[in-house]
Symmetry: C2
């Protein structure tokens, strides 16, 4: 059984722990988590991603490393993460441990919480500058389980224009407060579209203005990512590390 | 208490009953339900919409008639639907009966099923050519409750490219089979984007091809609707009846 002490020992070696949250599924949270990790890795930092989204793990797929499951071996230091091909990002995901045909929707409640702890305390993340937690969608159990054991340095909230609301951001803020951490950035994904042919930018105005919301709640950073068909292709083909545009270029954290 | 007999009596006066389903929320199902109703109304048919989405009713808002709640009066024929401003579409929605501040998320299980039956048997829809059922997202309880009492003539399935999958369509097909009805159309919403400036069409290829899926499952009609920023504006402002483009123009049902 993994103790809080073991987890604390592991987390001591990680300089910054960032949780990525969303109000609901399908807003691009996993894609954003991966982009953030790639951003830091390209700056030369040691980066890890903990894919906490047990019911819908997508990090291995984004990096094209699902087949590397046999690399998640048990060494005397613990469970070794799988390294991404290009940037050596350390990836930990339940997907690596599942038999091919089994979908994680088999997992429920207690089992998931146990597994989350096991990974936190049992994985040999090593020395890291940044560890990105890709949480399941929503502000439910899993983030709480992690935050019980890990002091996150900050939370990045991912939304899409249609879902941008006071309610969703307030919920995330309460959670951040409850765990003595802060929302370090608001990502408005699929916020505009740039025509590949004529270069015209088309804003997608639906719901609240992310910058007004951020200002109201003292969230210092707003990152707007367009509906990017090329990004979707790279993501779909497991080549997120090769994607040329760094949407977190001006993210100063 | 509303009996199955009462419901059958009401439904006898409705020529075609069409259910609109989606695999999950946020794919534009309500918007599509409204567009379908507007399509028929513009062709001169008598149309009704039954907003069965009790936890997230959006039909009154799409038609800009939330304030007409006091028009949903109880006559000797039953509960009168509210007529839309421009096309006289008959709208029935739990939203008309809720106190302003109450969000329907208060409702649970049994209460919802009771309410669904009450509306089905208690609303005086009158003689209609088409009655559109805007179901809650997913293939859960509510559609089943309705289909227990109403013989739907057909189901329209709404998806977005990212969610288009065999699993989701198969689930809908099983449901249709179970209730002895068929999927009369597959709507792939947000399937492409037309640049308002240069007119270039950009396809959003993610997940399965809707036409291949439809062919595989014998679904005769595929309707592709683009990400349409102008439509989103009209929808947002409750002016769906004024929106000029009829995406169901070639829908031959
Ligand atoms: N900015 C974007 N532009 C285009 N496609 C995107 C964008 N962000 C995410 N996607 C696509 O949308 C889908 C959902 O993204 P994902 O990261 O899995 O969402 P979530 O983790 O919130 O469920 C994926 O197919 C992904 O490639
Ligand atoms: N084709 C489209 N283009 C642009 N916006 C759309 C389109 N379809 C739906 N929307 C917008 O997306 C949001 C979700 O649509 P909605 O019909 O409420 O979805 P659902 O009923 O599936 O939850 C709304 O803001 C709506 O105006
Ligand atoms: Zn253009």
């Amino acid at each position: 059984i993994i103790t809080g002490k073991e987890i604390a020992e592991r987390m001591k070696k990680v300089k910054k722990k960032i949780g990525v949250l969303s109000g609901k599924g399908g807003v691009g949270k996993s894609t954003v988590s991966a982009l953030l990790a790639v951003h830091y890795a390209r700056e030369g930092y040691q980066v890890g991603i903990y894919d906490v989204d047990f019911l819908g793990p997508s990090i291995p797929r984004l990096f094209g490393i699902e087949r590397k499951k046999y690399e998640m071996i048990l060494s005397r230091d613990g469970l070794e993460p799988v390294y991404s091909d290009r940037l050596g990002i350390r990836v930990v995901s339940i997907q690596f441990l599942l038999p091919k045909s089994e979908t994680p929707v088999m997992w429920r409640g207690v089992a998931v919480n146990q597994a989350i702890r096991t990974f936190l305390g049992g994985c040999s993340f090593g020395e890291l500058d940044y560890l990105i937690f890709d949480f399941p969608p929503g502000t439910g159990e899993a983030p709480l389980t992690v935050m019980d054991f890990v002091e996150l340095d900050g939370i990045v909230m991912v939304t899409i224009p249609h879902d941008l609301s006071y309610m969703v951001v307030e919920k995330a803020l309460k959670m951040a407060e409850k765990f003595d951490t802060e929302i370090i950035g608001l990502v408005e994904n699929m916020s505009y579209f740039i025509c590949p042919k004529c270069g015209e930018k088309h804003n997608i105005f639906l719901g609240e203005d992310s910058e007004i919301l951020a200002a109201k709640y003292g969230i210092e950073r707003v990152i707007k990512i367009p509906i990017d068909l090329k990004l979707a292709k790279f993501a779909d083909r497991g080549r997120i590390e090769d994607y040329g545009i760094d949407y977190f270029e001006d993210f100063d954290y």
